[in-house]
Subunit: 248 residues, 2 copies
DNA sequence: AAAAAATAATGACTCAAATCATCTTTTTTA
DNA sequence: TAAAAAAGATGATTTGAGTCATTATTTTTT
């Protein structure tokens, strides 16, 4: 079964990467994944690599929790990461799904002592860690690199602002359409995909309850806007989904 | 009447500042207000001052609109600024109230070509503008200054995230308590204050409708949690307001 | 392979807050 | 200063979505 094979492949690959990282810091594979690496001096690269380490996580494992000290800044090297906040016991909101290339904890690494959200693995995830002080010193010393970080933060900021607007004013069909489009366009770049989350998690992404989310998806299914069985979702009428998303 | 006197005072002061800025760029009063100025070289200071200019706005005037090109970055020097987004015709959300010291447009200045929100004056406002390119070049060249900007963006990000969480899960009494506390603690640092917004605007800040907001304030008033006549609001039971805010 | 636990799905019921309607008061403008 | 417009307030009605309850299905554990 191809799925199983894929897992093996990833695992072997990760082990190899981790070995390389341990044995030969200079040629660490980690540096290949580092965003904006062309802006960093050889000296800075070495500092990063020497303070870096890789860590593997599998589905549902927590990468770091809201409230814990930030000792290292985390780069998503492969896999999908769920970024969530606990509002009260049992009441969560998923802020976003982070993809490879994302820097985690950026918004709090320079100011707070602690992470202000929880990150957990959606599928198999490989994280590259860099010491917090090493990273922030480079941002301080290297304006060009810092500038790229600033840009990234601006994008994060714009993203969360647009989510605030849509979650606050759109009603359920619009919000559910939003997350369908999010998966289809941002994450899988395909109108057919396997939902990588439980219904509960989907609800936390759409800012609603499990029951309401299931109901809305069922209605979309009945109305032949999407086709849904188990976790395989196909957008049948992209047009309607986009209209629902736009009009809320 | 003391209110009238105050207006005159501010106006005179502003005119003086603007004159100074025009006639003597080197000693521009603007530079005094610039955050993190101790991190900037004399040369960079001069570049900022030479590209800078001041602009005055009175109540309800638009400082810049969502969607217009960012040519200058705006520093709030005095007064309160309403930061809002239009979601559809007639449907707005107020993201926050910016106070003196705030840098406007930070999240889009490095990436987008345009502002992603509208800023308008709540009371008399003085804005110091710095050319966008001058500003972003300094961020690029001066890591220490850039680092402070990064910190600021992190705080903005944390703020908008916490607003997202509370608006999404708290119900009306909690959200209205939030904005009462916001004015009392963040803006006026007093349990008695004059609301500087219309009921419609308050509603846009609390993420609700005008009618619902008025109703909730009236209930708080009846229940002697606050005392409200016209725009003068006094918190009577801070305890209850805080509990409502916390429990949503 | 059976038992337990987690996840998914649907229907019935409830309720918070939006909408609609009307009226009063205040502010703006002509 | 009269007329028009905007802002504020309150009641009646509607409705979207949350809560509660139950059952089916899938996954995990023993």
């Amino acid at each position: 079964m191809s799925h199983y094979f894929f897992i093996i492949f990833i695992t072997e690959n990760v082990d190899k990467l981790m070995d390389q990282n341990k044995n030969n810091k200079k040629d660490s594979p980690f540096i290949q994944f580092l965003p904006f690496q062309h802006l960093i001096t050889e000296d800075q690269k070495e500092k990063i690599v020497l303070s870096s380490f890789l860590e593997e996580y599998s589905r549902k494992e927590i990468i770091f929790s809201q409230g814990v000290n930030i000792d290292n800044i985390a780069f998503v090297l492969s896999g999908l990461v769920k970024i969530s906040r606990e509002l009260r016991k049992g009441k969560n909101i998923i802020l976003r799904i982070a993809q490879p290339g994302t820097i985690l904890g950026l918004s709090s690494v320079f100011t707070d002592e602690v992470f202000n959200y929880t990150a957990s693995a959606i599928d198999n995830v490989l994280i590259g860690y860099v010491n917090r002080k090493v990273f922030s010193d480079i941002v301080k010393d290297n304006g060009a690199f810092g500038f790229e970080i600033t840009k990234q933060m601006g994008l994060d900021n714009a993203y969360i602002t647009s989510r605030l607007s849509s979650l606050l004013y759109k009603q359920l069909p619009g919000r559910v359409s939003d997350i369908i489009l999010y998966f289809a366009q941002e994450i899988y770049k395909s109108n057919t995909f396997n939902i990588p989350l439980t219904r509960q998690e989907l609800a936390e992404l759409a800012g609603t309850t499990k029951e309401s989310l299931i109901r809305t998806l069922s209605e979309f299914n009945h109305d032949k806007i999407i086709s849904l069985n188990r976790n395989t979702l196909s957008i049948i009428s992209l047009n309607i989904i986009q209209t629902l998303s736009r009009l809320g």
